[in-house]
Every structure is written in C-alpha cells, then in structure tokens.
C-alpha cells in the first residue's frame, strides 16, 4: 500500500458553506455496509443534498470537477467513520477549506491525502466572497508553504507537522509505527511488570 502524497493543488472550488456538517450528512450510515473503500463517491452527501433541492451547490455546473470544497465551522463532527474522507476523495476532492474541523475527521482526512485547511474567519469570508463573485476563481492549496492563494490574496494555515511531512514526503504512518515496535514492546514489558 502506498502512502498518499500531496504538495499543492489548484482548482476552482465548490462551496457548501454550512456549519456543523456531520459525517452522517457526508455519508449516511446505510452506505457503511461495505468491506472495501472504493466507489463511495455517489454516496457523498446522498441525503443532505435533498434538503437543498435544486439549490444543491455541488450540482451546479460550475462546481463540476472541483478538487477543493469550501465548508463552514466544525466540519466532519459526529461519527468517526473514515468513509467520510473516502467518499470525498472518491468524488474528486483533494482539499477541504473550513473555519474549523472536528478532531477525528481531521485525522482521518490526512491519512487519505485529503488536506484539511482551517482558515481564520476573515480569510474564510474573503475566500467565500471571491468564489461567490466568480465561481471559476482558481484556488491554490499549497501544503509545502501552508498557504491558500486566491484572487491575488494569500492566507496561511497550519497542518499538524507530522501529518504534513507524511503527505509531502509520502511517509507511511503504519511503517513509522512499526519501526517503533521494539520501544512499544519494551513499554509493554514494563507495564506488565515482566522481567
């Protein structure tokens, strides 16, 4: 298995600027009866979109092919299902730009090459304004520089340094942990009081 890699992506963005979008909205539970991780794209927002009717933002022609999704606060709250980033990646997204993320979603996202970008309120508002004015606005997420660039502006963000290094260098987290097995075994012996 190869580790996901990410350096930078430039794309127009799809906007779904709602707060507290939970992972049940991202992918409803009935799609979790799978034993692999492929093909979950059609399940993305399968029910949430119904509440928007014809106004569902991801159905706009100018959202087609977007690799960046702009959302609101506390994105990915609720269930720990990693199917949420799997579905977003399967639908073609490589970065999600939010005002904030829920912890488990953020961790799951980076493990699948989906970059969670949290922007400050003013910068988030400027980005939303720019892409609302011109849906075709190119947005760049540069993980190496930890910068988002759009409409002649740039905004900084931070990704947890180890996750960032893993994404930039293609480091495999499980391989990293396996290299620590001697220390893990030593810790276990100390805990269990064995000689």
């Amino acid at each position: 298995m190869t580790a996901p890699q990410f350096t930078r992506v430039t794309s127009h963005a799809a906007s779904l600027v709602a707060d507290d979008v939970d992972t049940d909205q991202i992918i409803p539970a009935r799609f979790l009866k799978v034993t692999d991780r492929a093909g979950l794209g059609p399940a993305l927002f399968a029910d949430f979109r119904a509440g928007y009717g014809a106004a569902w933002p991801l159905a706009r022609p100018d959202a087609a092919g977007a690799q960046i999704l702009i959302v609101g606060r506390n994105f990915g709250c609720g269930s720990s299902r990693e199917h949420a980033p799997w579905a977003l990646v399967a639908a073609g997204f490589r970065a999600v730009i939010a005002r904030s993320f829920a912890d488990i979603f953020r961790g799951n996202a980076v493990k699948n090459g989906l970059v969670p970008v949290a922007l400050g309120d003013a910068e988030h508002a400027a980005l939303v304004a720019a892409v609302t004015t011109d849906r075709g606005t190119p947005v760049t997420v540069d993980l190496a520089a930890e910068q988002v660039e759009f409409a002649g502006r740039s905004a900084g963000f931070t990704v947890e340094p180890f996750a960032r290094r893993c994404l930039l260098d293609g480091v495999d987290e499980l391989g990293y942990l396996q290299a620590r097995l001697p220390a893990i075994a030593a810790w276990e012996r100390a805990r269990d009081g064995a000689p």
Binding site: M1, G107, E173
Partner: protein
C-alpha cells in the same frame, strides 16, 4: 487524572512527531474494521496483541423480537446480503487473527460500549480505543478512551499503539444534587447545549462535582458517552468506590491479589487538588430540567418546558441560517416549548441508554400504562446480558403489556443500519445520541431525551414532561 493516564502510556513523548501511545484495550466491530484487516493482509501482517483485542457484532445486527428465551432462528437469517457479508468478514478476520468475538448468537453479544464494561474489560487508568466515536463511554471508569478511524484501527491491530498529539483539558463541574426526574442524559444534553457541538474540540473532558459523584456507573457512562457530541476526544470521571464496586467480580476484572494491586493503582488516579485545567465550566444541578433536542445536532437542546429559540434572536448569520434550516427540517415552531409536539416513534436503547437502569427507568413509566395509539415504541437492550437481567425482573413483560416491542440487542435505530429505522417525516423521541438529519432513517426527525422522557412520550403520543406523570417506583 488525564495526565496520569496519558503519561503512563507514553512509549515515546511527542516532539516533531506525535507521541506514541500504548493501547491497553482495542474494541472492534463489523463496520469500521474490514478495511483495516485488509490493510494488514496487504502487508502480510497479523494482529499483534489479539489478547488485548475484543470484537463484537452490533451495528448491522437485526433486533427483530424472538420468542421467549431467545429461541428460534438465528438473527443472521434476517440480515441483508451486505450486512451478512460484513458480519461474515468480521468472523473470518477474528478467526484468522485469534481475536475473541462475541458474535450475533453469542451469550455476551451486545453493543461494543455496553459489553466492554459489563465484561469487566474496561478498567480505570487504561487506554481504550475503538473505531467508534462513542468509545468515550469507557471514560466513566477513569480510562482514557477515544474513537479512532479505520486507518488507526489498522495501526492498533498491527502495533497496539497509536500516534497522538496531547489533547487539551477541560473540567466540567456539576455542583449540587439533581432534582427528581432529572437524570444523566439530561445533564449531558444540558452540557452540550451550553458549550456547543464544537465546544470541546481538541479536549479531554473531566466531569466532576457532587452531582457527577452521586451518579451510578451506568449513569456515568451515559454522560461520558456523549462527550464526542461536544467535540471532545474523550470524557473521564475519576474512579471511586462506586467504580470499584461495579467492577468487582466481573469476568475480566482482576481477582485476588491482582485486585488488591489494581485497586492501589486505581485509587491514585483521581486528579490532584492543585491540578490545573486549561478551561473550566461549572453548572448547578439544581437548575437542570428534563432536556429535549429541538434541532438537528445535539447542541440544539433545551429544557423540556423552555421555548425553542427563535432564529430572529440569533446575531450570528451562519448560526441563524443553521437554526432556521434545522427548525424547518424538524417542523418545529420557534418561541414555544416542544411540549405537546406529536410523536410517531419512541426508541429506548443504544450505547447511551441501553443498560439495565435505563430499561428500569422506561419501565417505571410504562408499568400499568399503554403506549398511545398510533405510536410505535421499540425497546432494544444494549446486550444479551442486559436482556437476560431485564427479563429476570420482568421488564420485558412490562414493555409487552404496554404495547412496546421488546427486541434483541444491537445498535438498532440509533444508527439505522439494520432495518430499524424511521419512515420519512416520522418523529422519534429517542434515547440515542445523535439527532442529525436522517440519522434514524432518511427524512426522519429525532428528539433526543432520557429514558424517562422517551417513555412518557410513548404513553401520551406527545412530547411530555415525565415529572407530570405519576410513576410507581
């Protein structure tokens, strides 16, 4: 207390890389594990510590009632193909890796966060993880317990360790004594309404105060269970004599000299008086009332007799839009209490409120009464052991006599993966943990409440304050 448990499990402290945290207990279920086992297979790896890994089947398991004593066809006969494949996959993976499995027809099967404590697998001071966000439940014992994603399930299977950044700390103190009719579920719903669904993001919560200390273990589990609904990584309650009395004699609890050694360690876990928390929140128990949610996340809750907030009074434009959308979805009117709102379904169960004390509470309301015409009431015990204990004291008969369905253990209508679900538009008063849009079935509407409030709604067919119903205790 958090720092003591964290520090005791540090294999390597954090620096540029996150800390390597040793894991004492890994709980596994059918939904979030197949891709993790596949990741191990792709690398030719085996589960490293099957002796510290326990699996159960809960999310996809049908709960259709069987004849008395659980006889009759295996519940597997009623699983759909995808669900059966997932359950078969778990059974095959557990057999291949030597992991103990409490399968659908096993006598200790049940919801993962119900069986861990009741088997005595959950101990104070442990690190416990599971590919399920409600793993926070086990924090009721003073364990550091949190939900992980499927990639991390693979990490733990392969190494029995995890990469973690140290969370921040938040203490929530509930002072005083709870009024009659106000229970643990109301406490945690009030806390989430107060701090918000993202209010504890990045934090481990310690629940403290006289009202928390007075709770029994099952009630403490209800509180810790919903820590994730405030965004917290975990919730913890300091172990005390209540904790130790619960654990003593359980199948996987230490015994003999090992018990004495464990007890000495456990007694040293509670937070030192001079410990500093990064944030403190305090609530007065006396001011709490039965709680209900009116919206589409667990933070949209209010006292049952308080008016639903009016979006017009919300200053923040995004919050106003979210509340407007939520009330439209719920078909709830702003400015009036939810009291009296018609109810289609009542669900008593889940890892939040599917334990014996929860069933007793619901039965105390339903005893001698009938479920209102047109209302479907489901009672789903959290485990086979809970079901047996409830049947031994006749609770199943109370539910059946009232016209409620007494079903078999599983997650059931909390996550609606097993066929137990709302029809579009139906409104449920539910003892589960999430009222997200469509959580209990596409188009379904969920009002979260305590078992007392849920049972009161079953009897009247409307959202009802349980304090207004006379209860034979």
């Amino acid at each position: 207390m958090f720092a003591k448990v964290w520090d005791a499990h540090l294999v390597e402290d954090e620096g540029d890389a996150p800390a390597v945290l040793g894991v004492d207990l890994h709980l596994v279920h059918e939904v979030t594990s197949p891709q993790a086992f596949a990741a191990l297979a792709a690398r030719g790896l085996r589960a490293r510590r099957p002796d510290r890994t326990v699996a159960t089947m809960d999310h996809s398991v049908p709960t259709a009632p069987r004849d008395r004593g659980g006889r009759g066809p295996s519940v597997l006969a009623t699983v759909d193909d995808a669900g059966r494949h997932q359950l078969d996959t778990l059974a095959r993976n557990c057999a291949a890796h030597g992991i103990a499995l409490h399968g659908v027809d096993g006598e200790r099967q049940g919801i993962v966060h119900v069986i861990g404590p009741e088997l005595g697998l959950t101990h104070p001071g442990m690190t416990i993880v599971c590919g399920d966000s409600h793993t926070s439940t086990h924090g009721a014992f003073g364990a550091l317990a949190f939900g992980i994603g499927t990639s991390e399930v693979a990490h733990v299977l392969a190494t029995q360790a995890l990469l973690q950044r140290r969370p921040r700390t938040l203490r929530i103190t509930v002072d005083g004594a709870l009024p009659a009719g106000v229970v643990a579920k109301d406490v945690i719903l009030a806390i989430i309404a107060r701090i918000g669904v993202g209010g504890a993001t990045g934090c481990v919560i310690e629940y403290a105060g006289a009202a928390i200390r007075a709770l029994d273990m099952e009630a403490r589990m209800t509180v810790c269970n919903m820590s994730i609904e405030a965004g917290a990584r975990a919730g913890m309650i300091a172990p005390d004599d209540t904790t130790f009395a619960y654990l003593a004699g359980r199948p996987h609890a230490p015994a003999g000299a090992a018990w004495d050694r464990a007890l000495a360690l456990w007694r040293a876990l509670p937070t030192d008086p001079d410990a500093r928390f990064e944030r403190e929140v305090t609530l007065a128990a006396a001011g709490l009332a039965p709680m209900v949610t009116f919206g589409t996340h667990p933070g949209m809750g209010a006292a049952i007799d308080a008016p639903v907030p009016d979006p017009a009074g919300v200053a923040d434009a995004d919050e106003r839009a979210a509340l407007t959308r939520a009330l439209a979805y719920m078909r709830v009117e702003a400015g009036r209490p939810l009291l009296g709102h018609p109810v289609d379904v009542v669900f008593v169960g889940s890892c939040t409120n599917g334990r014996l004390s929860d069933l007793r509470a619901a039965a105390s309301v339903l005893r001698g009464r009938r479920v209102a015409a047109g209302v479907r009431a489901l009672v789903v015990p959290g485990s086979q052991a809970v079901a047996r204990a409830a049947e031994a004291e006749g609770l199943d008969e109370v539910f059946r006599a009232a016209g409620a369905e007494w079903r078999t253990p599983g997650c059931s209508m909390c996550i609606a993966m097993n066929g137990d679900q709302l029809a579009p538009g139906q409104l449920a008063v539910s003892t589960s943990n999430r009222n997200f849009e469509g959580r209990q079935g596409a188009g379904g509407r969920t009002v979260l409440a305590s078992p007392l409030t849920a049972a009161a709604a079953a009897v009247t067919g409307r959202v009802t304050d349980p304090r207004t119903l006379e209860v034979a205790r």
